[in-house]
Symmetry: D2
Subunit: 345 residues, 4 copies
């Protein structure tokens, strides 16, 4: 089969690889129908995640058709259409039993990272019964690719951890795909005001069409000042960090109201300064989370009922074998006005 293979920093090739086979009786092999590229994949390609070794097939998102199942797989059979979760869950360990699949003792995030992934014609999925979700006939499979990772991530790490509630004023710092995912799913809870902060006017304009009530271009305006002005000097009930940088995290510290929440989604490469000299008495909560993808079934219901429209996140389409070109587009997201790209086999 063909697959996108990492060959060290800066080198990725769409090349022939052996089709995966069942290794454990809890495995399934899935034929990829549609997949996408994650910001994390860009980091891998740059060499930022040294755990990823030469020869690894990248990608942790997608929908597909079951090609083969191991003898212990009972929820799926050949021919079933499935959403692939970015998180592998054994269903048996202490963490899985509390739905904290991200820290599964035998799984967690391994796909396209420590084991071969989804940017390929076929992928082997360990613990298939707990790591795949069924797609009924007639569902919009392109939309469901967004349930592999980006929507659960924005929702779990940003919205749920941030305890977004009706009537709240929230700020989302960063309007890339993950900030947009938080923006879409935050509306499940009817906040009164959603303030989107970014340095890209195009993305801010898009965020308005996605439901943002206010936007701030932090390259041009003083974000803290504007937020204090919008909130009567109190700050926001929830500040969602969707970038993974020092400055954006520290901005969240400045804009969170007393009694409020900072919900981190961003992947950080460096420490940040936590201003405990002011925050100690402010009754705030700061949360971190690697997505558990435990809400994928719930998100599926909101998609089926039309409460959530994942396709808003999809800006570009490619054939699967055009994936290198797709990386170029996704890698120049600002210029290309790209959010998520869909690759179809």
């Amino acid at each position: 089969m063909k697959a996108l293979v990492y060959h060290g920093p800066g080198k990725k090739i769409w090349e022939e690889k052996p089709k995966p086979t069942i290794k454990e009786q809890t495995d399934a092999v899935v034929k990829i129908l549609k997949t996408t590229i994650c910001g994390t994949d860009l980091h891998i390609m740059k060499g930022d995640l040294p755990e990823v070794t030469d020869g690894r097939i990248i990608g942790h998102e997608g929908v597909g058709i079951i090609d083969e199942v191991g003898s212990a797989v009972s929820n799926f059979k050949k021919g079933d259409h499935v959403i692939i979760s970015c998180i592998t869950s054994c269903g048996k360990c202490e963490y899985c039993k509390k739905a904290m699949y991200s820290h599964c003792e035998k799984g967690g995030w391994i796909l396209g990272y420590l084991i071969d992934g989804c940017q390929a014609e076929y992928v082997r999925i360990p613990y298939a019964d707990n790591s795949l979700y069924p797609i009924p006939a007639g569902a919009d499979e392109e939309a469901l690719v967004m349930l592999s990772d980006i929507l659960p991530t924005g929702f779990e790490c940003g919205v749920l951890n941030g305890k977004v509630s009706p009537g709240d004023t929230i700020a989302i710092v960063g309007s890339g795909p993950i900030g947009m995912a938080a923006l879409l799913t935050s509306q499940f809870y009817s906040p009164a005001n959603i303030i989107m902060i970014d340095q890209d006017d195009n993305r801010l304009a898009v965020s308005k069409t996605f439901g943002a009530t206010h936007t701030i271009n932090s390259a041009k305006e003083d974000a803290v000042e504007k937020i204090m002005s919008l909130t009567n000097g109190k700050g926001v009930d929830t500040a969602i960090e969707a970038v993974g940088a020092t400055a954006t995290f520290e901005l969240c510290e400045e804009i969170v109201a007393a009694g409020g929440h900072i919900a981190n989604i961003g992947v950080h490469g460096k420490s940040v300064t936590l201003h405990m000299e002011t925050l100690w008495s402010r009754n705030i909560t700061i949360t971190t989370r690697l997505v558990d993808a435990s809400t994928t079934p719930m998100l599926f219901k909101t998609v089926q009922s039309g409460k959530l429209e994942p396709k808003k996140l999809i800006t570009h389409h490619f054939k699967l074998d055009e994936i290198v070109k797709a990386y170029d587009t996704f890698g120049n997201a600002a210029k290309e006005k790209a959010l998520k790209v869909i690759l179809t086999s």
Copy 2:
């Protein structure tokens, strides 16, 4: 009347001051029966809180007898015995309505800070109906002094925010009075293991008699290593910071388990380094809180039923007019083996 008055850094005098009177119809004047000294009072005396001005009467804890009430006070009358809350609550503002009294628009922590306090023969208590609690006949009033501040602080900021649960393993960093208050009240929730960390062997030994299951002298042992060894490499479910220093906060970051909680109690004068490069994916929660003293009525019930023994925290007794001497003892807590001192009028 006599009162302890702050006259700038390093200068405090037990001196004559006018007896307070009712200024607002929601005020009460309380005759102090018993009061105590808080670590924060030591900071005030050093000049660390510049908001405290020359002439201020210090102190925010105590029990007393109602001497006079304003015309709008309905819960109390002259002669009633009361616990004085360290936090003043108007009962009418947005924050009071959500029991976040610490941020009351007209109150919060003001006693012995922005208005005259309890280390005096009489004190004026604003919003008396919402800032005092009744003491029934026969209660142990000395024990109840601990409900003004130290026990709600340890409980709310450490135990409740830290979500201590049955079977958990928790660590409390700092075994001064506030760490001890967290230690006593954490046992409401039956954690399996309570690890006390300090650099004072005497305090650690005392903590064992208060219910700690393990102690670590971090001056002599590698606390991180020992905790990882005790927890099978996982870390603690809850790490309670009860010091207010950079090193102790960062120790909490190192020992918290995936999915765990860091609950800050300490008053911090400086920022800390938050290691988001490791914590971003650990599903942790960090909380800060200025005590709301909203749990004082609940703590009262646990004292009355014998579930909580506040008197364990009391190590020294003085007459109220010996308060300068009491400050010396409390200020040399390690040497004097002092936790809380009681001053009786």
Copy 3:
């Protein structure tokens, strides 16, 4: 002034009464701008609530202008526009401190019941600081009348107690004003399916325009069978009882899924049969609640931001002095296709 006065079962007169005055320093006198009629008022008029005595002015909803305040009122002054809460809260008792205002030791529901109410030119509001909410200039005051009672009731007793969550399937039994209030506010939490059950086709048709995804006329269809068919035999996540009758409560017992919630809003005059022989093992929760109106400030934010449109509930308008005619219309709600009526002074 003029007021609607109850003179025993079946007798109500719009007649001259003395204008109320400040009795306690925490009182306010409010000039009524707009008021409405509640289903409970119909019960009072029939004599179903014997606590209501001859001569009582009825009504517990409305917006108005502060005419006079007692000396201890600090949040409001003459001329302020206010929402009147149906629930009086002293702000000082054990119940008020936990935001369970419905059981306030000195308040709760007393307005237009145990003390004179809002269907009058003026009304005296005890504990004004905690029982009134400010209306900013420019707000739509007619819409805000719905925040006195009906929307908090539907939201608190039905939606919050019923733990409505994104993706859920819920049923609301009864599509009168209170069921409609639950319908509107349930959408704060983005349930996937909202099934409205009633015996009035007009109301069911209206509910569709308010956001119901399915309707069942239980006079014509087997509601249990239809719900089981819609839910794959599982039942609903939340069943909201918005009638107050034996049959409708027992319908909720039949349609609730394992792990689900029955949230009662209805006022019941009789006991119901609880089928513990089937429910004991179904992991369900049943809740009851007298509205606390603790969410009025939050609901206000959702109205101001356009997330909630209370005016959808208003079907008829009258002058305040046409109130007897308004009762006729509201009392023939089915025929008149009435939900809420607005009376303007």
Copy 4:
């Protein structure tokens, strides 16, 4: 092997049966070391559960040694000591993913009910990885038999659902084994007062040694009156029904305070009268639950740390082959002063 076999109402025989074997690759066969008898087993023996068919081996509690595992079992191997959960969990279905194992689509309570159970020398356990818990060397295995069913049942259905909190006043109606399990585990949360209600003076006396603060013999005293007198007319924060009868459930309705909880544990054969005419406005919560046994790992930690002493529940010991005699003792619990019996192979 030998096993206790149900042969229709009133007929049980300790007789030879084929040793169970692995049927599915997720199965384990466990050699029973210790087992016990549940009140439910008495009902089965009477014929109250017609789903139980002639030839069924009874029993759903015990500890044992793994004798054999299916090829898909990864958490256990031959020779491991294990606690057998009364609830079978597949770990893969919608219910298992939310830890509601009682409603597992392929499991739930089936052991000694729909499939052969634990009152035998060997038992086959389906979905062994999710339905067994490891016992470390040196643990007190007799105590751990109480973690199969009785302690999780009392804790989950009574204490957790009842939201028992520090300082609360709770009542437990019924002081049989399950009421005693609730009594022991309620103390994890430090209620101020625990009122035990029963008609057996011996059991009430025992409950005092287990931590009850008050006892009421409802055959001799008016329980409602006494509770109102103890609670200043307010009633209890939580009423736990641990009998499964109409009168005891309705007693809970009478004694629950406004804002309180009724947590049902009892197995009910008949409907009860729910007094909605008084309860509708009382802000109460009623819960039902079939034990999920999801807290067994947490309870294990509390046992290991000495916070919970399950052996208090054990009153009698027998050899496994004396099980018919053990049934006689357990069936005459009042006379024999029996709580739980232990049968050792």
